[in-house]
Symmetry: C2
Amino acid sequence: MTESGKPLKVAVLGCGSVGSQVVRLLEEQAADLTARVGAPVELVGVAVRRLDAAREVEVPEGLLTTDAEGLVARDDVDLVVEVIGGIEPARSLILSALENGASVVTANKALLAEDGPTLFEAAAKAGRDLYYEAAVAGAIPILRPLRESLAGDKVTRVLGIVNGTTNFILDKMDSSGAGFGDALEEAQELGYAEADPTADVEGFDAAAKAAILASLAFHTRVTASDVHREGITEVSAADVASATEMGCVVKLLAICELREQPGGEEAVSVRVHPAMIPRTHPLASVREAYNAVFVESEAAGQLMFYGPGAGGSPTASAVLGDLVTVARNRREGVTGAGESAYADRAVLPMGEARTRYHVAIDVDDRAGVLATVATAFAEHGVSIRTVRQEGRDDDAQLVVVSHEATDAQLRATVEHLQQMDSVREVSSVMRVEGGAE
Amino acid sequence: MTESGKPLKVAVLGCGSVGSQVVRLLEEQAADLTARVGAPVELVGVAVRRLDAAREVEVPEGLLTTDAEGLVARDDVDLVVEVIGGIEPARSLILSALENGASVVTANKALLAEDGPTLFEAAAKAGRDLYYEAAVAGAIPILRPLRESLAGDKVTRVLGIVNGTTNFILDKMDSSGAGFGDALEEAQELGYAEADPTADVEGFDAAAKAAILASLAFHTRVTASDVHREGITEVSAADVASATEMGCVVKLLAICELREQPGGEEAVSVRVHPAMIPRTHPLASVREAYNAVFVESEAAGQLMFYGPGAGGSPTASAVLGDLVTVARNRREGVTGAGESAYADRAVLPMGEARTRYHVAIDVDDRAGVLATVATAFAEHGVSIRTVRQEGRDDDAQLVVVSHEATDAQLRATVEHLQQMDSVREVSSVMRVEGGAE
């Protein structure tokens, strides 16, 4: 326990875009941090891969080291900030820090989503704090509200735009009519997408965040492998145009839902995929690379948290917020509430996820086709809400919007349609979220 | 200190729309609360004015009492939830509860804004918690993010739509072109405005919330009397139309700003008034009776928190969130971070508030009038950004939008204009917020 007035000693692992901003804020906000923590916060070391790399910030003389293991093993370090990212060596360093009696603040979504329980158990065993607000939606305070503000409420759904790159691309497609390829290229030119954009555009990044959000919202362990994941590479300009026609916009959503099962038990459904949402929905107005998380709960109703989802300085703000909390806990000789997985709900397979669907079908333009298509939907228990037929020379397009159905029902319907003589192609299937059934 | 497993005993003061929902949630979420707190939460008494009043919830036998003083004096009560509202007897009951060793959760914005420091000091002296998330913006978690998530950052501005009644009225005026009177009447019919709407439409409610937000954001004591307050009763259909012409919308804003003073010191400016904001601003899309708080900080950038700002159930959600935090603190034998007023910044008088202005002036339609009007602005140091002249028969209207100037400069300009022969009337003055200067 750090006594009142005794400095809190902080080691930072990584000095990239986030780490350098953490170092900067620790210095610039030193007086405020001291006042808020009740003791000075002292940077005692910064672990980097190469001492001579170019950095956004000047690290004080003597603090840089390439020996991260040695840094976390120092017995005078109270708090380790891990902003290296990735699974290893981040995991070993965090475990080592906790074993050595330091608390940990991390922004590592991939590690938390893959192996969070190992970290939570290590923190509990060591009697130390593990905080990770920065791991989801950058600077937006969302984990603390879920853990604390809504602790007396029952969260029923979380819809998140939690990846700035894909939101930028889809927003660009929506505003300019561009296709995915052109919009991605523009995002890369502007620095919103990486040269290898896979982690973003294929939804891996969003899926990791969905796992973390669902775990906290539903007090259940959810890992990245539990999350059904579809990226945005198949989203076409035609899909975006169809969405506009329906008064909707296409967003890549992380969706975490509590579902009552036939027996009365509650289970959890977690998925990441592009979806249409009504333009009147608060998430629809989240433009460019911004993030937002929309939360529905039993008592509070609908809440939304909006802000920059990435970037060195915003992410560092979230890290510092956690740092102040950990420092206050340490001064009091306590730890914050740890992992809460008491509810231990089942995680549903994707086939049991329920939502609405927008299905575009190219068909022969002849009498009776609409009836056969409608019959296929009905046979698989998918109830049709609206259908629109557009003739085009010798063929036609049917656009069907369904009522809520399971993913399995929808997939069976699509397979059935694809085998019908009068159906040339099921040209697009997109889920519709964020509206009343 | 409540030991692990020992029930946390809760007394609720008031069983109106919020209190009855608190009682309901304590019962319905009992199992989850026990899991999250680590001990059962037990309701031991509900103080009401009349035992036989109609209530939204059935209070368990024997728990109702009209003796609030006696309830808070019981030595087995760990936590008192105060949802009576108003200054007295709420203040005396809260002080008495703290003296008797209970922690307090309150939704009482008026009391906190008028006499917060008395309560904070009593809590600190007693070594007990005082939490009040529900006092600002209902269910929206905004105080905890300001106190904790942004504790390592520097908040520079808070813009809040924190009163649902006025937002409903202004939204109605914007969408239908109605005048203030008609929109108020509709709000009253729909239950969004009270029969005596003064506290809402004159900005008293928003001013109390602004004081609380500014205190937390800037670590400085700000009371309701420090807040410059203007309501929306003077907002006309013409003002709303002018805003639309400028690509803006009129909102009643609670504005809390950090201002660097000529000597380099930082001071605080807090005000509540109607203002035009660009339709592209995230706050512009806050419709109907929803609330939202937009926060700008040095590192995080722009954040927004959105949700229902009032209502029994949403407010009860915020109360329960605080209750869980207090209960966890009690189990650990600690208290949360108390009032933080270390920065002790000066609160600026309204004359020193700086913003931009939209000024409509009815003038004689003759040569040279624009020049004289422009000279008046220049004389008082108010730089003009745009001016638009519209001829109307024998007179004309000038619409001036200024660059940033102080309120004192603007007022001097308006007084000067009113004394000019060629000026018939300064028909409207409205501030313009939420854009880059």
